[in-house]
Symmetry: C2
Subunit: 428 residues, 2 copies
């Protein structure tokens, strides 16, 4: 079951979604078995694309922002899921330190932090906010537009433990994706539970590891319910040792773009799909839709102009891009008032706790909707009719559509669990 | 956290409730620890009474009806909690047999069954309904007023396994409280998970065991947060070998009534409470508010007339009453439109998933609101502002009041866990 409800796509329930609905007892049973084996990350969010013939995750975030975009009606669900996660990771915890991103001027992000604090406080934890910003050298209240305020405090390291003044928490929850590297102050905290683990941060994490894990998950799942795994899995490839400035690795990139496009073309032919295949080239480490490029032909990556090369060469925190993921593009056929919409699914532990549509009027169905400075309208999934309706059997019912989204979101979450397990350092 | 929200009591938040709110980090931490030690029943409901000076459970039901009275907005919460329970009790389950009560003409009860089927189906289980009624000798559809229908099927025993025709489930969920005894068809089902266990049924269960377990829970909890355990725990005593028809055991009853009244009088004096103490005498085994009597003076139980003796001597399924619980009465000071209201809290696994007020215009604040044939208006807890609001610090906020209810409901659930653990037969 997943909570969700306003659907952007209002056409008849597609065959793939119907398959998910019909296989729900198998799917839930299979997922229960997987969660016995793998530990889901504390929280995650997943960007999906639905082309009708394909429903696939294109990005999985282990430091999700945007909890403020969820329907407030789902708050109890978030709290219940967080209670379950805390019971698993740190049942002894009485207090938790939340370390947010350094965006003290991004009001949207700060509202996400406030929402996270709310959720965690409702589980009965004492919560304080520790900032990694050097300028936060004393407790600093930050006012939010809704009248709330957050108190950011400087981190205090005390031997093997981290906290803020007068507060040594049992657990540390990162909402900072560590794009700038793992700071010394976070290293060797052997006496505290750090969630998610440090190797989930972009200093270490690679999208290609995630999608390699997703390959395994998607194959097993597809076999279980009897579908072609490609229907839920974007093809991908990786190039390492790229230097966009120096134009190094262009051949590798072009060859891999061609290879992925070939796979997609073959599949389009197999399914009689009359669309132009494309790939998305993105930094293998990093987030925020920076360093992302849509490509329809391998030649395009050979002839990049200076502006394009500059755009691709750095991501958040000025990190140089040297490894890129070449991912099959999945058209978004979901529109809302003629704007392209992309569902984002939120999970705490192994539970789907809500989601929203990223809606953007100025972009095409084959473009990345999570671009820097991009304006999007979050459309919270509604709460009106919030569960798959097996009974009435109406395939057009929005909750039935959303059941499929929740399943794919959970597959991505499972892939993240597999990924974190595989990439864990020996002493972690 | 607990989902709830329409409050019947609108006065200022009472000191006890404020204490709960302020102690929430300790409370949640303590409860997490308890759930590491004890396994909560699959589901439960708890009748609470709130007298302002005291907030206590007066009955804990391990075969809860009334899921249909919960706010539909809490359905996702029920499903999530049920997923968690199934993961714990029977992760391998693909199918589940639900055995309801034999009330095929009670539309309210049938709607509860329909609601349970809905919740369980959303967890991805195949659900069928097996009836213990002899007249259900073939699959029998039962129409509900809302247009839904239920299919009751005759039970089929196959060696050590129970099912219905063509369906051998992994797990069996009882929504039948076994007041009439444990039928042979349910015994020795060693290859299936039976939830709750058979000794939770009224054929075996005793309220006095529950409240003895609650004594321990309440004492530990009260010590943890520094309150007098009496504030959350009704005093009680037991008489065995009662025969109301034969007027046997009247002296035992009178002595125990006097003893409990003395405890309560002492406490009322200590707290300066200007109310008349009373006790409730009820069958130690049984439910549905049958065999229940309010007593203000020990002499009252000596001079019972024939009608009163008849009323006390049988409970559901014609079971003879030979053991009674003498429980401190807790005044209900909650009213709604001048009618007395009693909160009922619903739990699945260790999670509060909703609740409602039992509201009855014709009864006094010291009367049992769960009487046979009684008309009550279920007032579902609202979803408007559904979590304790630590931030604004407004003690009159309804969600803050309800946090306390959820805590006491969970204490009763924990007591049920302790009780089932203590009373489990060796080979169970």
């Amino acid at each position: 079951m997943v909570p969700h409800l306003t659907t952007a796509l209002t056409g008849p329930l597609l065959e793939l979604e119907r398959k998910f609905l019909d296989s729900s007892p198998q799917i839930e049973h299979w997922l229960r078995g997987q969660w016995q084996e793998y530990t889901p990350p504390f929280y995650s969010s997943c960007d999906l694309r639905n082309s009708g013939f394909k429903l696939a995750p294109v990005d999985t975030n282990l430091f999700p922002g945007g909890f403020n975009n969820l329907n407030p009606a789902f708050l109890p669900l978030c709290v219940q899921a967080a209670m379950s996660a805390i019971e698993k990771f740190c049942p002894e915890a009485r207090s938790l330190l939340l370390i947010p991103e350094n965006h003290t001027r991004n009001q949207f992000y700060l509202q996400n932090v406030a929402q996270l604090v709310d959720i965690l406080r409702q589980t009965g934890l004492n919560i304080r906010l520790g900032s990694m910003l050097p300028e936060i050298d004393k407790p600093t209240p930050i006012e939010l537009p809704n009248g709330q305020s957050l108190l950011l405090e400087p981190l205090v390291r005390n031997g093997n433990r981290l906290g803020v003044a007068g507060f040594e928490p049992c657990a540390i929850l990162l909402n900072n994706d560590l794009s700038a590297g793992i700071p010394a102050i976070l290293q060797n905290l052997h006496e505290q539970v750090v969630l998610p683990p440090l190797h989930a941060g972009w200093a270490v994490r690679r999208k290609s590891n995630h999608f390699a894990a997703y390959d395994q998950v998607a194959n097993d799942f597809a076999k279980e319910i009897g579908i072609d795994p490609w229907r839920i899995n974007p093809a991908f490839s990786v190039c390492r040792s790229i230097n966009f400035h120096e134009r190094q690795g262009e051949e590798c990139l072009a060859a891999n773009v061609a290879a992925v496009l070939d796979i997609v073309k073959e599949k389009y032919k197999e399914y009689g799909i009359d669309e132009t295949p494309y790939v998305v080239v993105k930094a293998d480490a990093g987030t925020y839709g920076m360093g992302v490029m849509t490509v329809r032909d391998a030649d395009e990556v050979i002839a990049l102009n200076r502006k394009q090369r500059n755009k691709m060469s750095v991501v958040k925190e000025g990190l140089e891009v040297s490894e890129v993921l070449i991912q099959e593009g999945v058209h978004s056929f979901e529109t809302l008032n003629e704007a392209v919409a992309e569902p984002v699914i939120y999970m705490i532990d192994r539970y789907v706790v809500g989601g929203f549509y990223r809606v953007h009027t100025g972009r095409g169905k084959d473009e990345n909707l999570n671009a820097p400075g991009m304006h999007f309208e979050p459309l919270a999934f509604d709460t009106g009719c919030n569960l798959p309706d097996y009974r009435c059997g109406n395939p057009d019912s929005p909750p039935n559509r959303f059941y499929a989204y929740g399943v794919v979101g959970r597959l991505a979450c499972l892939a993240a669990a597999v990924e974190l397990d595989r990439t864990a350092p020996e002493n972690d």
